[in-house]
């Protein structure tokens, strides 16, 4: 709309004040706000209604627009984020430009944050006055269809990443799966059993693992990490760095290299309960089924090169960088088990104090103990085992207030496993609360109670090596009976919580994701957007968004895949153009805006002037104050529009719309 038209045509504004049930009406005199609105310049109509967002409310707005020939609407209700789209659609259904709707938030910014009805009403009036002034200045802004790259990337090859990759691939979308370890499968492949069915995790996971490996739409990159990201939703450019494996894909997995390799080190995958060679595969079923040479430990003896019957080993392999164009990204980097070292009272350095993940490895048949339950210090069968819950969870001393939610179930599972295999062994289960919500979980706990596990409601205050024997002294009070116990334990298993993986800060920074204070990736909305990240086009799957068990991770990952597929299946992006625009006459090409834009949405154009990438611009406005000449402005957030709003707010305050 040109400035001339602007001045010629007098705006006709309708104001609609919402009660939001009692949410607003209890604190704001909505009737008097609506009456006041009628006195404001350019307002042709005003009213109040119980629920503006209801079908009837929307009808009311549309009827008023038609009847009073309105060309702009102002709804005083909830946040722009929540219902601007609702009302913008209501008027655009009538053929108007959706940007002619203005949202005034008298709920979060007013009624919800005070208990002073008079002040709240006065503030609502001032806010409506400001909104009306802004509405009068608004311009029509278009929506554009932008082309999109039909390919997705999944970062992380644990169960969530695998599920997301598979679901995307099945929709016909090409997928790049990036895994930083030598093989895919993640934590699930390390588990001995899964609750609540006590199934073998590898058996459950194998079809998905094999399916992903052989899917024509999925390219699996192991030993790989995302090292850079450019572009925006629909058209990302992701740089992936792949570390050399030193073994080519023609490896037949015969294992000769490992047989001859003289270097033996701890197998990380076994958490201290297994060894591997420098030429290794972390576990028998690992996929891709290719050995790896671990150069940190290799002594360069060359035995493996000679032993390999297919000449697969190649020490000249180099680190590789590749750039992929993708439309959307799913982040599924999972979790890490909390390291209990910092809780010094628990003496995790003692060999007979282990975590649940270590217990899972000890219990599984492929490790050093061959699945036997033993005391790591001396290999003997433990007569007394203490399982300690909430280690690093629900503990504000270590900064983790949250409940991991999974540990009760796996703690019970492993306690049962011990009881089943060693019926004469006493198992004490120390907990704060048992949290087994949902179908089949409480039942699982009930069954465990019958096995003779001794459940003690209390968090041990200390786990100390006994100076007089080889036992561990666990001090705990049963808070149900107020009985202090001093348990002489042979083995202590700590149910350590789930924490965000180390290094996620770096990756999160590269991807431009907001993180929650606990370090997990922050979802867009805890209820309505749990698989969306803070950045358009990037989605979250599984435990990276917060602790989850396998069932929840798989469900969450399915949601993420579906959300990541939507724009790719549709084939284009719809972008509202209330983005930054540069007035060429004012711009001096100082490039201050380029330096300021947090997401790199402004680039240097062919003529050497800055150019805004509309697809990327988030309308955050950071560039505006950076510009020394005022050349860069956001459509519908231009200086003159904001001035109008602020002046109206101030004069409403002066005119008595205030009690301050």
């Amino acid at each position: 709309m040109s400035k001339k038209e602007d001045t010629k045509k007098k705006p006709r504004i309708g104001v609609f004040v919402c009660h939001c049930g009692e949410n607003i009406a209890a604190m704001v005199d909505v009737k008097s706000v609506a009456e006041y609105a009628r006195t404001l310049p350019n307002v042709e109509f005003s009213t109040d209604y119980m629920f503006m967002c209801s079908k009837q409310g929307i009808q009311l707005i549309q009827d008023a627009v038609k009847e009073h020939n309105l060309d702009r609407t102002v709804v005083a209700s909830c946040s722009h984020e929540q219902h601007w789209p609702t009302f913008a659609k209501a008027i655009s259904d009538l053929g108007m430009n959706p940007h002619m709707h203005t949202q005034v938030n008298i709920r979060e910014w007013d009624s919800w944050v005070t208990d002073d009805r008079e002040a709240a009403t006065a503030k609502a009036k001032r806010m409506v006055a400001a909104g009306v002034a802004r509405a009068a200045q608004k311009e029509e802004v278009g929506t554009e269809k932008l082309p999109i790259t039909k390919r997705s990337m999944v970062i992380g090859g644990g169960v969530a990443g695998l599920r997301a990759a598979m679901d995307l691939a099945e929709l016909g979308i090409p997928v790049v799966l990036v895994e930083k370890e030598t093989s895919i499968g993640g934590h699930m492949t390390m588990l001995n059993k899964t609750f609540p069915t006590d199934e073998c995790p590898m058996c459950t996971l194998s079809p998905l693992l094999n399916g992903v490996m052989s899917h024509p739409n999925i390219e699996v990159l192991t030993l790989s990490e995302v090292t850079n990201l450019e572009g925006s939703m629909g058209n990302f450019e992701v740089e992936v760095t792949t570390k050399p494996r030193y073994v080519h894909d023609n490896c037949t997995s015969c294992g000769r290299c490992a047989e001859v390799c003289p270097v033996e080190v701890k197998n990380e995958w076994d958490h201290g309960f297994g060894m591997r060679k420098a030429a290794y595969k972390p576990f028998p079923q690992a996929l891709p089924s290719v050995f790896t040479i671990d150069m940190r430990h290799c002594i360069d003896c060359g035995s493996c090169v000679i032993a390999c019957p297919v000449e697969a080993i190649d020490f000249s392999m180099k680190k590789e960088k590749r750039t992929f164009k993708v439309g959307t990204i799913v982040v599924a980097t999972g979790y890490e088990e909390y390291d209990p070292t910092e809780i010094t009272a628990y003496h995790y350095e003692h060999p007979d104090v282990i975590t649940q993940m270590q217990a899972e490895r000890m219990f599984s048949p492929t490790t050093l103990t061959k699945g036997k339950i033993v005391r790591p210090s001396n290999g003997q069968v433990p007569k007394t085992v203490v399982v300690v819950q909430c280690v690093g969870s629900r503990n504000d001393q270590v900064g983790n207030e949250y409940c991991t939610g999974v540990c009760c179930m796996y703690g019970i599972k492993n306690s049962r496993f011990i009881k089943e295999h060693l019926p004469d062994t006493e198992v004490f289960f120390c907990y704060i609360d048992i949290r087994t919500p949902g179908l089949h979980y409480e039942e699982y706990y009930k069954r465990a109670q019958k096995t003779g596990i001794r459940f003690i409601r209390g968090r041990p205050s200390s786990i100390e090596p006994d100076p007089l024997s080889d036992k561990l002294i666990v001090d705990v009070e049963d808070t149900l009976t107020h009985t202090p116990y001093e348990i002489m334990a042979d083995l202590v298993i700590l149910s350590a919580g789930m924490v965000p993986p180390k290094g996620f800060g770096k990756l999160g920074g590269k991807l431009g994701l907001l993180r929650a204070k606990e370090g997990f990736a922050k979802e867009y909305h805890i209820k309505m957007g749990p698989v969306k990240s803070s950045r358009d086009g990037i989605f979250l799957a599984g435990a990276i968004q917060g602790p989850k068990d396998i069932t929840q991770s798989v469900g969450h990952a399915g949601g993420a895949a579906s959300a990541a597929a939507q724009p790719l299946v549709r084939g284009y992006l719809e972008k509202r153009m209330d983005t930054a625009v540069i007035d060429k006459d004012l711009c001096t090409s100082c490039m201050a805006c380029i330096a300021t834009c947090p997401i790199g949405a402004i680039v240097v154009g062919e003529a050497g002037q800055p150019v805004v990438n509309d697809a990327a611009c988030k309308s955050c406005g950071a560039c505006v104050p950076a510009c020394p000449t005022g050349a860069i402005q956001i459509r519908n957030f231009r200086d003159r529009q904001l001035n109008a709003e602020v002046s109206a707010l101030l004069s409403a305050a002066k005119a008595g719309g205030s009690n301050e």
Partner: protein
């Protein structure tokens, strides 16, 4: 390390164990540390009971003591975990909360005091074990102590760790290093080493039975190892161990007879003082420490 301290006596030491006071003064003198008396100092007041009932008054009373030390121009030195707990924490709170300081000063004004919380509050175990340390203390001692002992840290010396930051309360070594490397004592580990003696938090005053249960468990654990003495750093723990053993023997027919020695007493002995007041104690009054030439 400071060369002068305002010496906060507290209640138990001057009333029950004056030998801890005299040995402390002896040690400070040998170290060349000047002692400034705290005129009209009151009760610390105790960190458990008093604070639980009335935190504001607890703070004001403690702040008054801190103000007295400040008028001396010297940091506070205590020989007691309880006094240390209170004075350290109130000093810390005042240092980091100007609003609180204003409120406290408004009340101190009526009493004619003003607190700034500009100084430090130190425990003798920290001064000996860390500021001077096990190596340097050897310049001051005349003999090693020929003793096989056990240590009791007590509760308030190292906790809360986030404020005190002296040593890991779960696995401290500050006293072990001082006694073993500094004074030549042999130390034994025992069960319940880091358990409470049972005195603090009003337990001894209000629930003597429970208090004695706790002491019994502690002493029974000490008896399991061949220790000649128990070393502590707090007059209140001292009272509990020393008097409490006799109470247990009388009421429960036990035969506990472990001499209790405060860090000031044993250091004074190593520095050449022969009579460290063991004869005034309830348990093992005949106990004689043996020296070993350096």
């Amino acid at each position: 390390m400071s060369t002068e301290y305002s010496f906060f006596l507290g209640c138990i030491m001057p009333n029950r164990y004056p030998a801890i006071e005299s040995t402390t003064r002896f040690v400070l003198d040998k170290l060349g540390i000047e002692v400034k008396e705290m005129e009209k100092a009151g009760c610390c007041p105790a960190p458990g009971v008093f604070r639980s009932f009335n935190k504001p008054d607890w703070m004001v009373a403690a702040a008054r003591n801190i103000a007295i030390a400040e008028s001396n121009g010297a940091d506070i030195l205590t020989v007691c975990n309880g006094c240390f707990g209170t004075l350290f924490e109130v000093n810390h709170a005042l240092k980091h909360d100007d609003e609180l300081k204003k409120k406290v000063n408004a009340r101190l004004k009526d009493l004619g005091y003003h607190v700034e919380a500009s100084g430090e509050v130190k425990h003798i175990a920290q001064v000996l074990g860390f500021d001077i340390g096990p190596t340097e203390i050897r310049d001051y001692i005349k003999r090693e102590v020929a003793l096989t002992g056990v240590i009791h840290y007590g509760c308030h010396f190292l906790r809360p760790f986030t404020l005190k930051q002296i040593d890991d309360p779960e696995d401290p070594t500050i006293l072990e290093d001082y006694f073993i490397d500094g004074l030549g004592i042999e130390l034994l580990d025992y069960r319940r080493k880091h358990a409470c003696c049972g005195a603090g938090g009003g337990v001894r005053a209000a629930h003597i039975e429970a208090s004695m249960d706790m002491l019994y468990e502690k002493m029974a654990a000490v008896k399991q190892v061949p220790a000649q003495a128990l070393l502590d750093i707090c007059p209140f723990c001292h009272l509990q161990f020393d008097g409490g053993q006799q109470t247990l023997n009388k009421q429960r027919g036990t035969d506990f007879d472990i001499p209790i020695i405060h860090i000031s007493q044993i250091t004074a002995f190593a520095m050449g003082m022969d009579d460290i007041g063991m004869k005034y104690q309830a348990t093992a009054p005949d106990f004689k420490l043996e020296g070993r030439p350096l």
